[in-house]
Symmetry: C2
Subunit: 485 residues, 2 copies
Amino acid sequence: MLPYKNLIIIDKKNTLPVYRQVSLQFISLIQEGKLSPGTLLPSTRVLAFDLQLHRKTIVAAYDILVSEDWADNLPRKGYRVSPDLPVVRPRSYNSKKLSPFANNANFDFERLEPLVHQVISLNKGPLVIDDGFPDISLLPTKVISEQFKKSLDNAARGKNTGFNLNEVSNFRISLHSFLNRTRGIDMGIENLFTTRGAQMAIYIAASLIIKPGDKVVVSEPSYFIAEALFKKLGAELIRIPMDADGMCTEELEKILKKDSIKLLYIIPHHHHPTTVTMSVERRQHLMQIINTHNFAVIEDDYDYDFQFKYDPYLPLATGDHGGNIIYIGSLTKVLGAPFRLGYIIATEEFLKAATTLRTLIDLKGDFIMEETVAGLINNGDLARHIQKTNKLYSQRCDVLSDLIIDELGDKITFTKPTGGMALWLKLKPEYNLLQVIKKANLKGLTMTGSSYCVGKDAHFNAFRFGFASLDEHQLADAVHILKKQ
Amino acid sequence: MLPYKNLIIIDKKNTLPVYRQVSLQFISLIQEGKLSPGTLLPSTRVLAFDLQLHRKTIVAAYDILVSEDWADNLPRKGYRVSPDLPVVRPRSYNSKKLSPFANNANFDFERLEPLVHQVISLNKGPLVIDDGFPDISLLPTKVISEQFKKSLDNAARGKNTGFNLNEVSNFRISLHSFLNRTRGIDMGIENLFTTRGAQMAIYIAASLIIKPGDKVVVSEPSYFIAEALFKKLGAELIRIPMDADGMCTEELEKILKKDSIKLLYIIPHHHHPTTVTMSVERRQHLMQIINTHNFAVIEDDYDYDFQFKYDPYLPLATGDHGGNIIYIGSLTKVLGAPFRLGYIIATEEFLKAATTLRTLIDLKGDFIMEETVAGLINNGDLARHIQKTNKLYSQRCDVLSDLIIDELGDKITFTKPTGGMALWLKLKPEYNLLQVIKKANLKGLTMTGSSYCVGKDAHFNAFRFGFASLDEHQLADAVHILKKQ
């Protein structure tokens, strides 16, 4: 007899009735081949004693096995595993049978590869350089938790189950006023649509616009996840170089003279990855181009709220573009990873299609998180938090910039940005960035920021060093480790 | 002179410096045509007095206008709006210029229509019949808020910014053990992937599988949002009738004799919308079919946790299918709208592609919400909540069923389900459901549940009546209003 005492474990916290737990575990034993077809099961009396259960519970469990053809009940002999079951039933998700979704199967599904800039496998050490994320230890956690509690209690009391995507939520109203105030974008509430972080905003906008074969212009280098998305959608990518004034609009004009494009993806403010902000001349030139050609523009302005000093560059979307520009932003850069909240600003017609697509993707938003952030906006907590963190990040940017110049000036070149949360550090060609990342990892430093040192982007030999989430000591420690590589 | 005192409003809570707020508002006045090209601006002294600001602040604001070419500084005359600006700049998002995203524009983007089963426009009255949602007033809000606070504080203290989708999160570990315990699905952690609600799980799985022209089998009627998704992906839908034993697998077999299909979408347990549970014979037949043909299966088991009495139907995914079945479920039905958490169980190879696709869609999950729910699972709070609500929903199901038979038995037919949160009520042909919904709405009853009374589904003349979220008085009130229509 099998050691049922150890094989069949009753979990009192489990919502399943005990007799069902017993029968399920017998089925597992049979499926795993531990109980072969034809095996006699222990008598109900013996098993009840072994498992410290009532005999009726065991009878109920056995009866289920019989009713489901796993076992049969022999007169005067008791229960046994059905003799005509297939011998061993393998774990279906790791079966040796060829699944349509196996590596070597011939089934036609989309085998998307992992994104190449993230595949360097690193151990998580005590010190992490990220891509430019906020320092969440600065979050007003008490205020946020109280706001969450209030939102949840209100919803529960009123049996309020939130808003459908085609309704105007409290979050959308608060966000609308926040964006009008901070960006100077002149829009109605019907021009604002909320998403899960900026990524979903890019996904939705690009999915509605791009058809296989369409030409899409991006900068070189560009935000690699957006690039991967455009490629997945079947776009033919045209890459336009960046210089110290941003994307070279002269190149764009040249392309448009002989060819038409469907979409331009641009990050004019603190460009990702290079942190460059587009100059006034280039902006004016770009607006001219937008107004004379028929293509759509995604303006990704993920980093707008972090400007260390007065910066006269308003979003392109504030200008005269007749609705061609789809403006995308995010609160995740302000509040950090716990809050994946982004938005799209566009014409009403475009957002109607966006609403339907997001319904198909995820039905609706996280109601209580959205209400919580609406509260933070309305109480001024969000504005206060931005002011406070901006000051600190500005200092950290100074500290890191000085450290790099002093300690790594012979190996690294960079231009100090006017805001944001990261430096873009270019290694001189004689140093191999991939090797530096791997060696630094052995010293306890994990560089998880976007690094442009593999594939077609290998020649950049450059990486993002997020300074916002590290204090001055951590910044110094990280630079010292890098210096020794 | 314009009434600048009323036109230019300084917001002390705003993070923008005051001089920038002033310049931004001047730019708006110019863009809106309120300040014409060439107009003289008030002297810095006068405006400083009007706005109760320091004169230097006004000078700084004007200097920005000059540096951005909105204004110029005339010797001995002061500042004026640049005379060579375009006269009026319209609101770009509602411009009269033809945007590529206007209704009548010729630009080729995907103009997704709103979903037809949700377009009946209703006023929100005091009494709402939903599609079958949990009663969130039963949530243990205190426990949840405490768990949220703990998770947020922990994350902030440790500067923990969460998990990437290719990492094993605490939530995934807790969910894995919960699912093994309750579903008897024999799988490893690599076979489980988390999403935003079941909808994103369906979206991801279907997007990876369906290519334009692929044949996809669904039931008739079927969950209309899944159907809309398959159509958007270009599938050719084949609809197979439902009867009291579930989807007619005999029909499926007939189709497969002459044709090959790419995907079967099935809800064997408490089918949406009809609430039918598939019989044992049909299940066995379906498993046979799955094992002799080469197609993928999405098993949508959104409602598994709500079974009013012992129900021997385990998911199809627990059987021997060699990895063909993609199993989808959700915690949103358990915890309600505040928690949009779903999952996919599938082969490791399939989930690798799912991970990349979800990265493109929304990068990562809501870290703190996921940690919060992991806590609820580990503490047994989730299991307790399921047990408690199941008991109450079972009572509400009884109450509503009796009410319908007593009060509406002459107009409505239905089969009482063995679990779940809704009844599927069929109106006799002489009653027009669309009219009933509209008239009831005038009496303060809002029927937001899926109603099958428009388009190709009009002949069903049936709707879902969610009973879980209403107490006995509300159920009685709703039935009384319906009786009078």
